[in-house]
């Protein structure tokens, strides 16, 4: 069978985004039209005159994927060609959490039938690892660097799934590239459901998070096992099926694998910061009833 994302693209070895994109396509199938805003996936897969995409694909701008997807859906319906076609956005976290939020909010409010997949690698990786609204607390990025008087990003990660669920989305889910079957199943389910569905796939970035490129899946799994990446589905705004974690691992194990958190282990006061991150995981475990 033809690979919907053909090999030969320019994404990094060990790229979490590439895995997430493959899983999204596997879930949605070949009857889909993909919208990608500007980002790693876009620039790595479509240097003119080449393209990795074996499904129809469009890039317009950084900040408008939700509206472009809405136009495709509305246009297909008006032309009587919607039928079994899935309209799917595959976007990074910057395009989703920050600059594209308005267009996405409008699209979800209006209820267009689409699957919006946010491939979350927790910073602007395409432009060189700058902080986004998805960057976790204390991560060092090039615009929230750790330094003598800074532990890195001072703000917590924005809760996008809750924001999209509150738009009245019938289906919201989180997934991870470390759990392939689960991610594929969730995208397939989202594609079946009428209306705007949102799936956020955690996609570790070896380049931006600074870990060995052979460890992508391992890092992704640790985020889940430490309780920092809760995996759940929301049906009509209610959380269902949050993944249970047996023997939850300390966040330290997850943080220690990544250069972006290295300063927490060398700076004075780092222990307190790690304790704060542990508290985030503990809160997650309780709120999502992981244990």
């Amino acid at each position: 069978m033809t690979q919907l994302l053909a090999p030969g693209h320019r994404m990094c070895a060990g790229c979490g985004d590439a895995l997430a994109t493959k899983f999204a396509l596997k879930g949605a199938g070949d009857r889909c039209i993909v919208v990608s805003p500007t980002g790693c996936i876009e620039v790595s897969t479509t240097p003119y005159p080449e393209s990795s995409w074996n499904v129809p694909w469009i890039h317009s701008l950084f900040d408008n994927a939700g509206a472009v997807a809405a136009g495709i859906e509305w246009g297909l319906k008006k032309l009587g060609k919607k039928e079994d076609t899935t309209v799917m956005v595959i976007a990074g976290d910057g395009a989703t959490f920050d600059i594209g939020l308005q267009a996405m909010s409008g699209a979800f409010e209006r209820g267009h039938d689409m699957v919006y997949v946010c491939v979350d690698n927790e910073a602007y990786m395409n432009t060189g690892i700058q902080r986004s609204g998805a960057t976790p607390y204390d991560a060092s990025t090039t615009t929230s660097p750790a330094g003598k008087v800074s532990f890195g990003n001072p703000l917590p990660k924005k809760n996008m799934p809750a924001i999209m669920a509150d738009h009245g989305s019938p289906y919201v889910a989180t997934a991870s590239i470390a759990y392939a079957k689960d991610a594929i199943r969730k995208v397939a389910r989202a594609a079946e459901i009428e209306g705007p569905a949102y799936i956020q796939i955690h996609a570790p970035c070896c380049t931006g998070w600074k870990f060995d490129s052979s460890k992508t899946v391992e890092v992704g799994r640790l985020a889940v096992e430490a309780g920092l990446w809760p995996m759940y589905e929301m049906i009509d705004g209610r959380i269902e099926k949050a993944k249970k974690i047996r023997d939850r691992k300390p966040v330290e194990e997850y943080l220690r694998m990544q250069g972006r958190f290295k300063h927490l282990f060398t700076m004075e006061g780092g222990e307190e910061e790690i304790a704060r991150i542990q508290a985030i995981a503990d809160w997650n475990a309780e709120y999502y009833e992981m244990e």
């Binding site: 070949d30 009857r31 889909c32 039209i33 919208v35 876009e42 620039v43 479509t46 240097p47 003119y48 005159p49 080449e50 393209s51 995409w53 074996n54 499904v55 129809p56 694909w57 469009i58 890039h59 317009s60 701008l61 900040d63 408008n64 939700g66 509206a67 472009v68 997807a69 809405a70 136009g71 495709i72 859906e73 509305w74 246009g75 297909l76 008006k78 032309l79 060609k81 076609t85 308005q102 267009a103 909010s105 409008g106 409010e109 209006r110």
Partner: protein, 397 residues
């Protein structure tokens, strides 16, 4: 003109009606004065079952244009209307639309830019977007704004063009005025405007990549081809006006139109509704022995260089009127562009420019007379001031 077929309607209604007759598949817009009446009329047509349910209310002009990118990419005929801040909010997407060669049509109801906030008319909004790669047409009156809408779709969708089109009409002066017009004839439209047949669409049965990025090895050629398409549009705009005349019996000019221009020594160049005022003044001045005429610019992009060079043959002085200013250059776009197209030819006619009617300031006939008289002085004494505001209130400074 056939008086029995005329209706007295507001400009927005005439345009909304024309849009309906052109059968767009998707309309997306966001309300902004003085464009609102167009989308309100369209909404009412749909609510009354007189138009297919194609319209969608979006959360910004940026999203309106972005939504049309998606719709046009699957082969839908796509339309929006906006003004001023809304057009400029779209700006990022406007470049994208022309680069992707999507034949979207937008009515721009021209309005001044903030600050200071002004809801009233000038043309700073669309002029500021002149380099976005959109064809820009300017209407003189309501009839032309409506008729131009049909021509715009035909021009945009021509396979040698495939560029988006702005139909610009002056806010309030045209959008809110009630004029007797012939509403675009539904029974004749199919003869003039066939359905849109896109060259390529997003289709799972035939997957294509839209909007790939171009490195320095290919970017220039994409931009060059947009310019080629603009050049291709020159005869297409003329043909659309001629064909429109054949089918509907109305003609308002091609790239330009001329009025008493053939032998005029003082040649006015202007666009938009002020042309109507000027056409009132010209016969009165002619009666007093003043040799004056006007070239009306219908197509600002592509700019009608050849047509202007030909039309100014008799002129001893050219005077441009601009409802916009390039701050830092101190002149309006028509002045700059007119100089740029004539001075590399053998023409050495002096050109002076007046800016006026900004932020909705009224342009009375007396102002036009004063400008023509001042231009007449240039014939005798040469240029003293190249470009200035014609209606500045010194007492407010």
């Amino acid at each position: 003109m056939d008086r029995e077929n005329m209706s007295v309607v507001d400009g927005a209604y005439a345009v909304a009606h024309a849009v309906n007759v052109c059968k767009p598949d998707v309309v997306a817009a966001y309300p902004i004065t003085p464009q609102t009446n167009i989308v309100e009329h369209i909404s009412q047509f749909i609510a009354d079952g007189e138009m297919d349910d194609v319209s969608i209310n979006v959360e910004s002009e940026h999203s309106a244009m972005s939504l049309l990118v998606g719709a046009s990419s699957v082969g839908a005929r796509a339309y929006s209307a906006t003004a001023s801040q809304g057009l400029v909010l779209m700006s990022e997407v406007l470049f994208n639309v022309s680069g992707m060669r999507l034949p979207i049509v937008v009515t721009v109801v021209n309005r001044a830019m903030s600050a200071p906030l002004s809801i009233w008319n000038d043309q700073q909004d669309s002029i500021s977007q002149r380099d976005t790669g959109w064809i820009q047409l300017y209407a003189e009156d309501v009839q032309e704004a409506a008729d131009m809408t049909a021509q715009a779709f035909k021009i945009a969708e021509n396979s040698n063009v495939l560029l988006p089109v702005m139909v610009c009409m002056d806010g309030f002066i045209l959008s809110h005025v009630y004029e007797p017009v012939v509403l675009l004839e539904d029974d004749l439209i199919d003869e003039f405007l066939p359905g849109y047949s896109p060259l390529a669409v997003l289709d799972p049965d035939n997957p294509k990549t839209f909007g790939a990025f171009a490195d320095p090895g290919a970017y220039t050629e994409f931009r060059y081809l947009q310019e080629v398409a603009m050049k291709n549009a020159i005869p297409v705009i003329e043909d659309a006006a001629d064909e429109f005349k054949e089918v509907f019996g109305r003609y308002q000019g091609g790239l330009i139109d001329e009025y008493m221009a053939e032998d005029a020594e003082i040649m006015i160049i202007a666009m938009g509704s002020v042309v109507g005022t000027i056409k009132e003044v010209i016969p009165e001045l002619r009666a007093k022995g003043v040799s004056v005429g006007i070239i009306k610019i219908r197509s600002f992009r592509p700019f009608p260089a050849e047509a202007i060079r030909k039309a100014v043959a008799s002129a001893k002085v050219i005077v441009t009127l601009d409802k916009n200013i390039s701050i830092g250059l101190g002149e309006g776009a028509l002045f700059t562009e007119t100089k740029s197209v004539i001075y590399n030819s053998s023409i050495r006619t002096p050109v002076i420019g007046f800016m006026l009617g900004h932020g909705g300031r009224d342009i009375p006939k007396a102002r036009i007379e004063q400008i023509v008289m001042e231009a007449g002085e240039v014939m005798k004494r040469g240029i003293t001031v190249e470009s200035r505001y014609a209606d500045l209130k010194e007492e407010l400074l």
